[in-house]
């Protein structure tokens, strides 16, 4: 297995320092499709270096919010602020270079590529190689690729424990591993804020626990702000610093996990009835598992 023993001196550059985590705020965002309001006046924020979860029943507008944040949908009104900068009108690639990375609910890996190439892709926006250098694989291109390879190997592949699959095509991997590769790819973007769309959906207990550990480690060791949409209440209540609850495209509650759990509106949204005690019991039970 490739391991470099002697680091080359030219690999150290300004790029290798990691940027500080970014804060994100969604301000009064409304999104209409034709006559239907998918989101109305959604406001919440993610503090730098924290984990914020967006929860809500199916169809509440969680993924719509994510799509507004990452730039697929343009809100009909309202603003998205990234570290105080208005990014509402920026195209997705531009947001990516500002430090926004995301994973997808239904895994969006590139099936024709190996795990390694998929991860490398994440770095795209930060690289400089131009066409001519690429064609001849001239000095800067080769150096940049080597540095990337080193970073991916030493910081990401080791960290996420996926050395054994690095040369496999992603299409042969299990669901849990694909999710992990997607996280690896997002990390390769050197994100300041990471948007995770249902990071543990469809995973078994063990895989979920691994993923929870990785998410916490990313926050702690890499200093990245995390915003996630998740259905798994146990995970949400365990690792989030802050929870925002959506229903019918509106924010119905926001706060620390415990506060949200106690909110009768949330219970109503989930159960269709106003019995907070029953919900609390259920949430507590899930949180305990």
């Amino acid at each position: 297995m490739p391991k470099s023993t002697t680091p080359s001196p030219h690999l150290v550059s300004a790029q290798d320092t990691w940027d500080a985590p970014a804060g994100l705020s969604v301000e009064d965002v409304t999104l209409r499709f034709g006559g239907i309001k998918a989101l109305s006046g959604v406001t919440f924020s993610a503090q730098p270096g924290s984990i914020t979860a967006v929860i809500g029943p199916n169809g509440a507008g969680k993924t719509s919010v994510f799509n507004c944040i990452s730039g697929f949908y343009r809100p009909s009104s309202g603003r998205i602020m990234l570290d105080g900068q208005d990014v509402t009108r920026l195209r997705p690639p531009r947001r990516a270079t500002l430090g926004m990375a995301r994973s997808f609910q239904n895994i969006a890996l590139f099936r024709g590529m190996t795990v390694l190439d998929n991860i490398k892709l994440g770095r795209h926006g930060h690289m400089k190689t131009n066409l001519l250098q690429a064609f001849f694989y001239a000095g800067p291109a080769a150096r940049e690729e080597e540095a990337l390879r080193r970073e991916v190997e030493e910081r990401i592949i080791d960290f996420l424990e996926i050395d054994h699959i690095r040369n496999m095509p992603v299409s042969v991997l299990s669901y849990g591993l694909q999710k992990r590769v997607e996280l690896a790819r997002a990390l390769a973007m050197r994100p300041r804020i990471l948007l995770l769309d249902e990071p543990v959906a469809g995973m078994n207990r063990e895989e979920t626990e691994d993923m929870a550990r990785f998410i916490l480690d990313v926050k702690e060791e890499w200093g990245v702000t995390i915003l996630m949409v998740e259905h798994d209440m146990g995970l949400v209540m365990d690792i989030s610093d802050h929870v925002t609850v959506l229903n019918f495209g509106q924010v119905i509650a926001s706060g620390k996990p415990a506060e949200v759990q106690a909110d009768p509106q949330v219970a109503a949204a989930y159960l269709g009835s106003g019995d907070p005690a029953a919900l609390m019991k259920r949430l507590a039970a899930e949180g305990a598992t």
Binding site: R91, F110, H124
Partner: protein, 347 residues
């Protein structure tokens, strides 16, 4: 998994040829390319040059269609643009060969960007048909802008000359065409070791999520179009020096279909696919010629069957590969390689 490929550095691991047998085979192959012209007669040299030109064109189309997922049925039109540019520069400006050739590639690339613009709005089949449309419009221009293109009769191209040495025989042309082809293929292989190539594949596999990873779709789609057209333009330029006349009828729609068939048969999205496909599809009709010669004592009038049989075989190859071997010859080559592993170095 092949054992025994430990490498000392990431740089070695990022190299094009990572195993010893690969390097040895490549050396043998290159030596064969150098030896070839001394062993072949004019007919086979002619075919070798033609194969090389088609390899360049097919590799370009493979970058666009195989790697970026944008189907073009107008590739021949870009070859024509390159060929006309070279013919025009050669006869009007008299600039040196290499400048003409690069200019041919660049002008074709510019047209490629123009034709790629609809890829903003349409994709898949619609884009393929838009490229057919563009090639018909270009064909019209070739006939009617006769101040530049020589109208229906086209332009006769003087022989290629470098430092006053005239390169008119196939033997001499080979030494220009083959190295350029080698560089173009190497360049394409290099492209896919870097972020640009990866971005193309990302666009092919899932263009929407590529955007989230910071890949500007429009820019990269147009870049792919321009690179593919550059390759086509270079191939067309070589073609112009090779056939020495360029007319509006030199690059029909059939050539575009031929090139697409070549990468289908060879294997889309693999550099070796473009090469194998172009070699196979260029030589297959010639092999049929010999096949027909062999059966001619048995079948009356076999010579007269050649052309329709070729047409049938051409179609059958496309259909057959798509149904039974969609990964093309590249996959077959892979299988053979896996079978032999490290042969002949370890058995």
């Amino acid at each position: 998994m092949i054992i025994g490929t430990a490498k000392e550095s990431y740089r070695a691991d990022e190299a094009l040829l990572t195993t010893q047998p690969q390097r040895v085979w490549m050396a043998i192959f290159l030596a064969a390319l150098v030896a070839l012209p001394f062993a072949l007669n004019d007919y086979w040299l002619y075919l070798a040059c033609l194969v090389a030109i088609n390899v360049t064109a097919a590799t370009g189309l493979n970058i666009l269609t195989g790697f970026t997922g944008l189907v073009s049925l107008g590739h021949a039109a870009f070859m024509a643009v390159g060929a006309y540019t070279v013919a025009w520069a050669e006869t009007r400006l008299g600039t040196p060969f290499f400048i003409n050739l690069i200019a041919g590639g660049l002008v074709a690339a510019a047209f490629g960007i123009l034709v790629g613009l609809p890829s903003l709005r349409v994709k898949g089949l619609y884009l393929a048909i838009a490229t057919i449309a563009a090639s018909f419009i270009l064909h019209f221009c070739f006939i009617h802008f006769d101040g530049i293109t020589g109208g229906a009769t086209g332009i006769n191209v003087p022989p290629l000359s470098i430092f006053g040495i005239e390169l008119a025989t196939y033997f001499r042309l080979y030494w220009v065409i083959m190295p350029i082809t080698a560089v173009m293929v190497l360049g394409a292989a290099n492209l896919f070791r870097t972020r640009i190539g990866r971005a193309f594949i990302a666009i092919r596999d899932r263009d929407i999520s590529a955007e989230v990873l910071g890949i500007p779709l429009l820019r990269y789609k147009l870049m792919s179009f321009s690179i593919a057209s550059f390759y086509a333009g270079m191939a067309g330029g070589l073609w112009a020096y090779f056939f020495r006349v360029v007319t509006p009828e030199s690059f029909p729609l059939l050539t575009s279909i031929f090139l697409l068939a070549a990468i289908i048969v060879g294997g889309m999205g693999a550099i070796i696919g473009g090469i194998a496909g172009a070699i196979f599809m260029t030589l297959a009709p010639e092999l049929l010629r010999f096949g027909m010669e062999w059966i001619s004592p048995l079948v009356p009038n076999a010579g007269a069957l050649l052309s329709p049989v070729r047409t049938v075989v051409f179609g059958a190859l496309i259909v057959g590969f798509l149904i039974f071997e969609p990964q093309g010859l590249a996959e077959i080559i892979q299988r053979i390689r896996r079978y032999f592993r490290l042969w002949p170095f370890r058995t």
